[in-house]
């Protein structure tokens, strides 16, 4: 005596296997659209480096100084000193080789005479930023005694400005 109902066992086994394989295939495909896991780490490393450099530049050079190098740079619009000092800090390594980072720096401030809006002007850069570059942004608040906007017919006044640096690697 033959019972044909037993044929279902094989079909169920094949169906379950197919479901598992299709599920696995979908999951594998799904992982392929993930962004590489460490992209943000390069950004974080650059941010730490740029923040450290600005912070160190904003420390006075001795105990009786009135101003930090960064304050003097902003007050005097001294692009060459900023360029030399900033690049020295961010490119220095403990080994013999230097890093090769690029930056562009601006100074942002509130223009009270123009409806309290935020204006900015370029401070220094060692390369123009292009659309293909992937920069990080680092900032440092600096107290300066300066006429703003530059060239305006007002006497210098003490105020806070934001030094904003875009930093990237080739």
């Amino acid at each position: 005596m033959v019972d044909s109902g037993g044929q279902l066992y094989t079909i169920e086994g094949i169906a379950a296997a197919l479901i598992m394989l299709i599920s696995a295939y979908l999951v594998v495909n799904a992982t392929s659209v993930y962004t590489p896991g460490d992209t943000h780490i390069n950004d974080m490393q650059l941010e730490v480096l740029g923040s450290d450099a600005l912070q160190v530049m904003n420390m006075p050079v001795n105990g009786s100084s009135e101003k930090s190098p960064l304050q003097e740079i902003v007050e005097n619009d001294d692009a060459s000193t900023f360029n030399m000092t900033f690049l020295n800090y961010v490119n220095n390594k403990t080994g013999s080789e230097m890093d090769n980072l690029h930056y562009t720096a601006n100074v942002a401030y509130r223009n009270i005479s123009d409806g309290d809006t935020t204006w900015s002007y370029p401070l220094a850069s060692n390369r123009n930023m292009t659309a293909g570059d992937h920069p990080v942004r680092v900032t440092e608040w600096v107290l300066v005694d300066k006429t703003l906007p530059p060239g305006a017919p007002y006497p210098p006044a003490e105020r806070a400005v934001l030094v904003e640096v875009f930093l990237w690697r080739d």
Binding site: I14, G37, D38, Q45, V48, V56, G63, N92, T94
Partner: protein, 394 residues
């Protein structure tokens, strides 16, 4: 009668086998799904960053180290872990940290840097002072259950050598961070022959009269040194440059002592340093904070401290006062004016010469104590030197 109950049919066996094969294949494929996430690389970078923050932004902590067999129970505390006075053994160091304080990130303490990079590669279970790579550093700076390997290096502007701890960095697959830092040097003072002859020479002209003993006093004005620089005008504007005897090493060199004697008829070549005391006034004979603290006193260029007093001095004395050793924060706050006094008696055994010409030496009784303060003419002030700190972890 034949009964089929309990038999395993061939088609069930086939279906079950296909299912199991497919299940095993999928199960073995699951771990490979996470390869693209680079979990190790992410973790290495995170640990490198955390370590750099601990080193560059934290002053560290003295105290019992967790998870390590040690030489007894530690009672150390505070942030001065680099001093063998406050943390006698490496078991008294709970956490490394190179910053001078939590309020001043990226400004590193020279003493902490020197102690941190003084490690050895040889593990000696009986060595209570020197650090061994990797165990001692892992427990105090790297942390975590995974046995990370690492390389921590520091290059200071003006130094030829890069300081480092750890092994060679692999070609790939390691976490990395670089920090820009400033290294604060310690203050020091040199009291040399011209200065002594101008202000502190007990030779009968600059200073009238004879003294049975010569006393030279150094004054630490706690009110000035530790004045809150954030709230009031002060001789110093920034905490980074503050001289704090409870946190900093104080170095005082007294030189040219052999040039102070009366040339003739005296034939003195040495003088006895008979005592050192710290008190709240330059002449205090009672209420002294300590007596004969000679463990930080080096005589005539000797590399080991003078053991007992009195001791013969020919030409120079160096006082290397470790942080908190003689002037702790609480002492300075409780007694804002503290005076460190050295007492000398000459070795001349001829009374008449002693009375007439003796004691041509260093003496601050008339001119007042030497002020250890923010006057750059007296004391070499702390400096900040740029440097770069790198941490690699794998």
């Amino acid at each position: 009668m034949h009964n089929n109950n309990g038999n395993l049919s061939v088609d069930f066996l086939a279906g079950f086998t296909i299912f199991i094969i497919a299940f095993i294949w999928v199960a073995t494929m699951i771990p490979t799904l996470f390869v693209g996430l680079n979990a190790h690389s992410v973790d290495y970078n995170a640990v490198a960053y955390r370590t750099s923050v601990i080193l560059a932004e934290d002053p560290g902590a003295a105290g019992p180290v967790s998870g390590a067999p040690c030489f007894g129970v530690s009672s150390a505390s505070g942030s001065v872990w680099e001093s063998t006075t406050t943390a006698p053994t490496k078991c008294d160091i709970a956490r490394f940290g190179l910053a001078i304080s939590r309020d001043t990130p990226n400004v590193l303490d020279e003493n902490k840097v020197d102690r941190f990079f003084s490690g050895t590669d040889t593990a000696d279970p009986n060595d209570k002072t020197n650090f061994t790579y990797p165990e001692d550093y892992r427990k105090r700076a790297i942390f975590g259950d995974y046995p990370y390997r690492f390389n921590i290096s520091l290059r200071i502007d003006g130094e030829n050598q890069t300081r480092y701890v750890g092994e060679a960095i692999p070609e790939a697959d390691y976490g990395y961070i670089r920090r820009t830092v400033l290294i604060k040097s310690q203050s020091n003072a040199t009291i040399d022959e011209p200065l002594i002859k101008e202000r502190y020479w007990s030779n009968g002209t600059v200073m009238q009269g004879n003294y049975s003993e010569d006393r030279f006093t150094i004054h630490f004005n706690g009110t000035k040194l530790l004045k809150d620089i954030t709230t009031s005008p002060h001789e110093i504007n920034y905490r980074n440059y503050q001289i704090d005897p409870s946190l900093d090493t104080i170095v005082i060199n007294i030189t040219g002592l052999d040039t102070l004697y009366y040339d003739s008829p005296s034939s003195l070549t040495t003088t006895n340093l008979t005592g050192i005391f710290l008190a709240t006034s330059p002449t205090a004979s009672t209420g002294r904070l300590f007596n004969d603290k000679n463990t930080f006193t080096y005589i005539d260029g000797n590399s080991t401290p003078v053991g007992t007093l009195p001791a013969n001095v020919t030409s120079n004395i160096s006082l290397v006062i470790p942080p908190g050793a003689v002037i702790s924060g609480s002492t300075l706050l409780a007694n804002p004016q503290v005076y460190l006094t050295l007492i000398f008696k000459n070795n001349n055994t001829i009374p008449t010469i002693n009375n007439t010409y003796g004691n041509w030496y260093i003496n601050s009784s008339m001119s007042g104590p030497f002020e250890y303060d923010y006057n750059a003419a007296n004391v070499t002030q702390p400096q900040l030197r740029p440097g770069v700190l790198e941490v690699a972890v794998w």
